[in-house]
Structures are given as C-alpha cells and as structure tokens.
C-alpha cells in the first residue's frame, strides 16, 4: 500500500501527525490509572494514517493553489503539484538523509490509476467520442505504434552511434520498450489506453529475453496487441452491461447505487488486469458503456454522489501521483543520468510526435469530410504531455531484465517534467495565439437539442436516399436497436419512459429554473416563480421576460389570436405535466410563490390606458352576461403574467405600494381590448345562458371574474381593499368552479375557501386561482394524466415514428399536417360533453375538463379553425 511504499514519508509527517494522534489516542486515557496514561500506538495506525495524511496534504495543496485564481489560470495544476512534490521531497530528503522512496507499481495500477481512468471514461462526451471514433482510434493505435517504434529505434540509433555513455546497457528491444512507455501521453487522456497495451506486449518480449524471441513470437506479439486491447474492451462492456442491469433493480435500496457503480467498474478493472488484458481500456469502456443506462436508473441523488465521488477520487489520485513524481525526482539514488539519452529522448519524442501527427492527419484527411487543419495539427503535436502513466510504467520495469532501468527512470522524469512544466505552461498561450476554436461550454438549450436531433434524422434519411450506409446510418441503426432492446432490458420501466434526450434536456432546464428560483430566496418574488414549472421561465430572470410577454401576447396593437391561443394552451398543459413531474422538488417554492403572489399583486407600469377603459365600461354588461369564452381564460392568465412582469419591473415586492395601482391600471387595456375583440366575434354564436356545468363554464368562472375586474379598475383604485359583491361568482367560488376536484383536498382548502375568495381582491383572486391550479395539479392523483390520455384521441394516435426518415417525402417537403388536430376536435368536444352530462359530479371527469380544453385548442389549426371549433363546441353544449 501507499504508506508501506513511503516509509520515509512518515518521518517528516510524524511530527504533524503526532499532534493529531494525541487527540485520536484520547481513548487510551480511559484505561484505569496504574497503566500507562498514554500509549503510543503509532505502528498500529501507521499505514492508514499515512494514507489519510498524504491525501490531506494533497487536498490542502490544491486548496492553496486555488486560492489565487491568477496563478491557476496561468500555471496548470499538475505543474504546481509537481513543484510541491519537489519541495516535499526536498524536505523529506533533508530530514531523513536518505531518500528511500518508491511509488510501487502495484499501488499505482491498483489504486491510483483506476479512479482517473474511470473518471475520464465515465464523463467522456460519448457523442463527440463516437463521432470522431475513427480519428481517435487512429491516433491512439497508429500514433502509439509509430511513436514507440520510431522513438525506440532512433534512441537505439544514437546509442549505436556512441552518443550515449557505455553504461547504458540496453538493446533494441529495451529501447523499444522505453519508447512505448515514453510515448504514453497524459493519463487523463483516454488516448493513453493504448500505450498500456503496447507496453505489455513489449514487456513480455523483454522479459523473455531478446535471444529467446522467435519469429513466431513477433506474430504472437502483434496478435496479442489485438487480444489485449479488444479483450480489455470486451471485459469492460460486459461489466458495463452487468452494472446497468444491476442498477435497474435498486429501486428500493437507492443508497447502494453509487457504491455499485464504483464496485463494478473496479471489478472490471481488476478482472482485466487479472487476465492481463488492458485494464485501462476495460474501465474506460465500462464507464462509456454504462453511463447512459446507469444515469437513467439511479436516483438523482445517487447521480450526484457518483459524480462527486468520482471526481474526488480522480482528483485525489492525480494529486498524489504528481506529488509522488515530484518527490521521486529528488531521490537521486533511483536514477542515473545520461545526457545523451535524455536529450535524445526529448528531441525524438517531440519530433516524432509532430511527424506522426502530420502523417496521420494527412492520411485521415483523405477520408474525413471535415479535414483537420494545420492549427489542429500544431496543437496536437505540441499537446503530447507525458505524465504519470509513463512514470509508473518505467518504475514498473524489472531491473534484472532491463539493466538500463535507472537511466530510463531519469529520462522519464525529465521528460515528464519537461512536458508538464514547459509545454503545460506554454500550451495555453499557444492555443490562444493560434486562435484555436475552443469548445465553448454554453448551456444546453432546448432548441439546440431539438435541432440536433432533427438533424440526425435528416442526415440518416439523406444517407438512405443516397444509398450509402455511412456513419449516420449505422448510428441510427444503433439507436433503434438501443431503443428496442437494450434500453428495455437495462433501464427500469419508469426511467425508460421519460428517458429521452430531448425530454432530459427539457427536464434539466426546468430543474435549473426551479433551483435558481429557490436560490433567489423566498422574499424576493421573481417572475420566474410564477412560471416555474414551465420551461421558458428559465429566461425570466429579467423582469420583462419573454415568457411573460409571450403569454400576454394578446395586445391591442398586435392582435394575433392564434398566437395567444396556442401559447396559452401550451402553458396549461405544460403546467399540468410539469407539476406532476416536479412535484417533489417544487412544492415549497410554489407555496412561497403563492403567498407572495397574493401579497403583491398590483404594481404595474404606467401607460396610457384610459381611453380603453372608457370603452370597457360601456361593454361591461355584455361582458358580464357573456360567460364562456376560452379566450377570456387565456387572457386572464396572460394578464396575470403581465401583472407579474409589471410588479417585477416595479422593483418593489410589496403590492400595496401606492404607485402600484396606477401601474396595474396601465397594463390592463391591452388585454381588455382582446377580450372585446374575441367577444364580438363569438357572441352571436355562443349562447349566453350556457349551462353551468358545461366545460366552457369551468373556465368561464374565472374569465368572468377577470372581466369584472377590468371594470372595477377605472372606477376606483381602492378595489384591492374592498371587492365589490359582483366579484363573487354566482356559483360556488370561482376557484371551486374552476377546479372542481379541488374541494376534496384538505390542505388546499385553506387557500381556497370561499371566504378567501370573497375577501381577497379580485385581481388577487386570479392569482389565487393560478396558484391553486398549480397546487392542484401537484396534488391531483397521478391517474389524472392517464385518464386524460385515455380520453384523448390524440394521444392514442399511432406514433409516426419514421416520418422524418421517410426518405424522399421528408426531403422534398417535410410538412407535418397542421390540420391534424382539427379534424377530431369537435368529436372530442362532444365526447367530453356527453361524459360530463352523464356523470357531471364524477371527479375524474371534472379533472379531465380543464386539462382537455387547452389541449384541444392546441390542436387547432390557426385561422378560423379556432372560432369554428368554439362554435361547434358551444352548440354541443347547448344540445
């Protein structure tokens, strides 16, 4: 173990450790007097203690480095760690007088390397990886072969030329071995995996002794290259499969999920190591392969735990390795210097790396559609940092078999130092100077995700049309296979249901909104609070968020009924769905919002509205009698948003500010105008005496209120304080009307009681309704969705899976039929109607209605369809 390999380390640290150990040894005070008060048991705890202290020092060092952002922005962390290691090593050397230090290969390969590799494998952007699989494999395999052969051969050449001290006793094979290990690039890079493979092969050659190597052994060696690498990959995939399968059944024991991930990945590593296959490759493939399914299966918390643990472990291991590297450099007894070898190695690795990159890129560019340009090549040539893997591999050499080991060690140390420090320091300025397009980490946007998916389908379709089964074709095939079999097998049903990349992004963005809302604190009411469950609220940090504006799109100036309608309906449905999904996490914020919503309801921006209000007054009676227009509903909500936005703008969270009223007044006309417009369209058709239990009325209750409020506004500004009797709806309470099923919910009753609705000013009532509706959907039984689906012909429509892939049709004019929804809307309305007639009080039915209505509207095609549908619906209601 680590401490065993660092017996020296205990000495300088024992001083520091002693202080802590006093506390730790406090138990030993407990034994009765007469015995020793304090027993020193250092040797019992030495090993784990040193490990702990070691990691602690490494972590503290990291903290210190990151105290100064300036330093870390210029100097890579690995540099600092190596320097720290040098300092520590110097201290150790000074204290102990003899530098006995060794990074035992066992420790490195069994404990330090796996976390690093797992981390890089698990968090590898799989899409990018597979998109560039060809290039990556080429560089990893061919590049490694090239580097090791050329470097090894060239070094052998200069030895033959007599440029090295004669004490460097090494044959061609030794140099090839050295070339293979020195061509290992930074361990964090996944590309490093192949080095290990090559090294293993060479090492077995060397261990056989060059005289014993037969021609057949070379063939075997080449074969074993494939066996070792492919075998390692296979082991990794098998374990990835096991891991995914296991996590499928952990629903009731969530707590072991993170552990499972690490255990099985580690098992993959050890298994591959046991079979002398490429363990690095195994654990990488395990990480790449399992991620998708594991992430879907395990709980959100487990996911976080996995992520943090993995990152922590990798970072610890890396830190320890680099510090050990620094320490080992001080220990001069372990290495022997040969200038020729060192300089030669440095020169050759740089030269051959550059040469290799250029050659390979040239070859690759013959096939790649997007060629790699010169700048890429420069960076790639220069970016070949050698790191801990090389060092560990060289330490691993057997001195009896490789007599020149000490020289190799020295050279490796120099090379690692040179690449990490010199190249590491300069590569950033170089990249900046060359203006390399660096991957920008912009947040994922829903649009982007959607477009990329569409795009994949299109490309697959085009490949189909062209008749060439290329990369996109196979990826598409793989995705189909994955969807059909693998995902079904490896993901738990509930996870599979919502597991879709698009959905996932959507979901994540929503979560982020929610979190940011909670972070903003309770007292500050942000507009995002109101739109919380809906995606767009993400953008609503600014008070005049587009979300809100979109929702209130019914404005006098630009009256676009379709837009209003579709947006509104979208919102309703969205709410319903998202509330269910996010119920756990969002409950609290929403409550908070509710409270604040009712509190600050007013402040609006001052704008000229008076002219419209006059008109409004005149229309008052008509409005009152008119009870069922869905547009009103939309408007009520949009108004709500509007007000919210206004409030935000105002900056004051308190609704009772005196300037609040004028503000609100100013905003209302826009919506009012729409109401009027809508009504004039529809009044002739819709009967004013619609039955109360009609679906339309469910919404009307609120809409009417909304309308009433409009009238109040011009009359008296004190409306918030004393609501007029007219505000109270004729039938139960507007809230109950609107949310018929809500009455059964005790905890909601507090907010919903008719008393409340009476006392609360009308405009606040809208707020109540809004919040209640959101609460409602939280509390409503999950079966509501299912019921809705069942009742909804739309949802039962067969999936049009391959539409986009339909080669030519999709290409020529990929027009989805916009009128699809319209055709059955009337029948749906009738269905809903008859149901509500047959069992008007069935809570399930009532639940359906509010959800359905927006749904239907959403299906409507733009233009007259909307009005027509409404007409039909109303007729159905009258029948």
């Amino acid at each position: 173990m680590l401490p065993a390999t660092l017996p020296l380390l205990g000495m300088p640290l024992s001083g520091a450790g002693a202080g802590v150990a006093d506390g730790a040894a406090g138990e030993s005070v407990l034994p009765p007097a007469g015995l020793a008060l304090l027993r020193w048991q250092w040797h019992e705890v030495e090993a784990p203690y040193l490990v702990a202290v070691w990691i602690l020092v490494a972590s503290l060092a990291k903290i210190v480095f990151h105290l100064s952002r300036k330093v870390t922005s210029v100097v890579p962390e690995s540099c600092l760690l190596i320097l720290l290691g040098l300092v520590l090593g110097g201290i150790v050397l000074a204290v102990a007088k003899k530098a006995e230090y060794q990074l035992e290969p066992g420790t490195f390969f069994l404990f330090l390397l796996p976390p690093i590799v797992l981390d890089s494998g698990y968090f590898m952007p799989s899409r990018l990886f597979f998109d560039n699989l060809g290039a990556i494999l080429t560089y990893a395999v061919v590049g490694t072969l090239w580097n090791s052969f050329t470097t090894g051969a060239a070094l052998w050449g200069i030895q033959q030329a007599g440029l090295m001290a004669p004490t460097v006793r090494a044959g061609l094979l030794d140099f090839l071995l050295f070339g293979s290990l020195i061509s290992a690039v930074d361990p964090v890079a996944v590309l490093a995996v192949f080095e290990e493979v090559l090294y293993k092969v060479y090492n077995s050659f060397v261990e056989m002794g060059s005289v014993n190597v037969q021609a057949i052994d070379y063939v075997k060696g080449v074969a074993s290259l494939f066996v070792v690498s492919l075998g390692g990959a296979a082991v990794g995939l098998v374990f990835a499969f096991l891991l995914a399968l296991t996590t499928r059944f952990t629903k009731r024991v969530r707590i072991i999920e993170p552990l499972l991930v690490f255990l099985l990945a580690y098992a993959a590593y050890l298994t591959a190591e046991m079979a002398s296959l490429s363990a690095i490759l195994a654990v990488t493939m395990c990480g790449v392969g399992c991620k998708k399914y594991v992430e879907a299966n395990i709980s959100h918390k487990s996911r976080t735990a996995v992520k943090y643990t993995m990152k922590t472990l990798a970072s610890c291991a890396e830190t320890v390795i680099f510090m050990l590297l620094g320490i080992s450099a001080v220990d001069s007894s372990k290495w022997a210097w040969d200038t020729g070898l060192v300089l030669g190695t440095l020169f050759f690795i740089l030269l051959f790396r550059a040469l290799g990159v250029v050659l390979q890129t040239w070859v690759l560019n013959q096939f790649r559609l997007v060629p790699l340009d010169k700048i890429d090549q420069v960076v790639m040539s220069y970016g070949g940092l050698r790191g801990a893997v090389a060092f560990a591999l060289v330490i691993l050499l057997d001195k009896t078999k490789v007599p020149a080991k000490d020289y190799f060690v020295a050279t490796t140390i120099v090379v690692v130092f040179f690449t990490v420090i010199v190249q590491g320091l300069t590569i950033k300025p170089l990249v900046k100077w060359l203006k390399v397009k660096r991957s920008d980490h912009h947040k994922p946007t829903l649009n982007q995700e959607l477009h990329e998916h569409t795009f994949d389908h299109i490309l697959a379709a085009v490949e189909d049309v062209v008749g060439h089964h290329g990369y996109h074709y196979w990826r598409d095939r793989w995705e189909q296979f994955d969807k059909k079999y693998l995902s079904q097998l490896l993901m738990r049903r509930s996870a599979y249901r919502i597991r879709d990349q698009i959905w996932d992004v959507y979901y994540k963005l929503n979560i982020r909104d929610a979190i940011s809302f909670v972070d903003q604190g309770g007292h500050v009411l942000s507009s995002s609070g109101l739109t919380l469950p809906s995606m767009p609220s993400r953008n609503s940090a600014a008070e005049t968020s587009v979300t809100n504006l979109l929702r209130e799109s019914g404005s006098g100036a630009c009256l676009d009924l379709q837009v209003i309608d579709t947006v509104r309906s979208g919102k309703d449905r969205e709410d319903a769905i998202m509330h269910h999904l996010l119920s756990g996490g969002l409950y609290k914020p929403r409550r908070r919002y509710k409270a604040s919503c009712s509190r600050h309801f007013i402040s609006e921006d001052a704008q000229a509205r008076q002219d419209k209000e006059v008109f409004q007054q005149n229309m008052k009676r008509r409005l009152e009698s008119f009870k069922s227009t869905k547009h009103n509903v939309c408007l009520s909500k949009s108004k709500l948003r509007l007000r919210k936005a206004g409030r935000k703008k105002d900056g004051s969270a308190d609704k009772d500010t005196p300037n609040g009223k004028p503000h609100r007044a100013s905003n209302l006309p826009d919506t009012a105008a729409v109401i009027l417009a809508v009504e004039s369209e529809e009044e002739s058709d819709s009967s004013e005496t619609e039955k109360e239990d009609d679906e339309g009325i469910v919404f009307v209750a609120r809409a009417t209120n909304e309308v009433f409020r409009e009238h109040k506004v011009p009359g008296n500004g004190s409306m918030e304080v004393c609501p007029s009797p007219r505000i109270i709806p004729p039938s139960p309470t507007c809230a109950e009307k609107e949310l018929p099923w809500k009455s059964g919910q005790g905890d909601l009753a507090v907010y919903v009681s008719s008393e409340t609705t009476k006392i609360v000013p009308v405009d606040m009532q809208t707020g109540w309704n809004q919040s209640i509706s959101s609460l409602e959907s939280l509390a409503s039984p999950p079966c509501a969705q299912a019921a809705l689906r069942a009742a909804h012909p739309l949802a039962c429509a067969p999936p049009r899976g391959d539409e986009l892939r339909d080669p030519l049709a999709a290409l020529v004019t990929p027009s989805p039929e916009p009128h699809a929804g319209f055709t059955f809307a009337p029948s749906l309305a009738k269905a809903g109607r008859s149901r509500s007639e047959s069992s008007a009080d069935a809570p399930e039915q009532q639940e359906l209605q509010p959800l359905m209505a927006p749904e239907d509207r959403g299906c409507l095609s733009p233009g007259t369809a909307n009005a027509r549908w409404l007409i039909q619906f109303n007729r159905a209601g009258r029948l």
Binding site: L450, T544, V546, G556
Partner: protein
C-alpha cells in the same frame, strides 16, 4: 433524363450547378433511377394532402443532395458563411412547412412530435410542452426583451441563424457521396 441521354454537356451543367463531381453525379443518377424505378421522376409516395411536391426530377434531386455536400477545404470565410447559410436555409425550410418564412409554433410542434414519436412513452402533450418551451426559448434568444405589445409569431430565418449559432453546421451537415468505385457496395 435516362443515363443514355445524359450527355457530358448535361452532366457538366449539373456539375456547375450543384458542385458535384461528374462521378458523383453518375452515381447519384443510378441511385435516382433505382429509387424512381427507372422513371424520369420520383413520385411522392406519401399521401399527404398538401404541401408536398408531387414529383421531383433528377435535377431537383441533385439540388437537394447538394445541400449535403461537405465543405471544401479551400473555402475562405465568406464562402464558408455563405455555405453555412445555404445549409441552414435548407433546414429552415424543412421546419417551415407552409413556407411563409416563419416557423410557427404549430410547425415546431409537429416537428417535435415527430421527433419524439419514436418513444412510445412520451405523450404528445409532453412533446408539445417541449415545443412550447423551445419556442419561448427561441423568442428569448432572438428577440431578447420584447415590448409588451409584441408578439412572437414564429422563428424567422434570421432567428433561426441565431439559434444555430453555437453549432457549426458546416462541419456537420454533410453526407459522404461515394465515388464510382464504391458504388457496387451499395445495393
């Protein structure tokens, strides 16, 4: 436009128009004939009421395909930008089914629904809410702060360009067009 009649002049003309090599055109022509059953045009197989072209001839076919040509290595910035725009315009028209220059919410929704239709567990409502969310997002990206009386009617082409800003389409939107030698491999 059978292969026998496709004189070299015709081919040259197509080369100039679409940028394909004559080899590629030959190959695509074969594929075209395969698809069309040796007819001059490919008939639309889908029974959609409106919006779809009834048939396309080889030139149309080539034009469509030419959008998926990879970029040339020797393009300068301006050409690249042009190429990018062309590709995006093609994509835009795929979304914009009524070709009124705007991707309306309806159109967007249809696209999203079709995208998600492969997953039977995602209901249409979810697809729609996603589309709605995306639309809102697009609005915020493209318009930024809207005036209260503004209505976001749909994604225009300029907005579309903005949305795609982060994605280098020019390096992605391409398909490998085979040369003559490899044609035997496909079908």
């Amino acid at each position: 436009m059978g292969s026998s009649q496709s004189t070299s002049e015709e081919v040259r003309e197509l080369v100039g128009k679409t940028g394909f090599s004559s080899d590629q055109i030959e190959q695509l022509h074969r594929r075209f004939k395969q698809l069309s059953g040796n007819q001059l045009t490919i008939r639309n197989l889908r029974k959609a009421p409106t919006g779809l072209a009834d048939e396309i001839n080889f030139e149309d076919f080539l034009t469509i395909m030419s959008y998926f040509r990879p970029i040339e290595t020797n393009m300068d910035e301006e050409q690249l930008e042009h190429c990018r725009k062309e590709k995006l315009r093609f994509l835009f028209h795929m979304y914009d089914s009524d070709s009124d220059g705007r991707i309306t919410l309806e159109e967007y929704r249809n696209v999203v629904e079709e995208l998600l239709s492969g997953n039977p567990h995602i209901e249409k409502e979810s697809a729609r809410s996603i589309a709605d969310g995306a639309m809102m997002e697009a609005a915020s990206v493209c318009v930024g702060q809207m005036q209260p009386d503004q209505v976001y009617e749909g994604i225009t082409f300029d907005d579309f360009l903005k949305i795609w800003q982060g994605i280098d389409i020019e390096t992605k939107m391409h398909v490998r067009f085979l040369n003559m030698e490899t044609i035997a491999l496909c079908h």
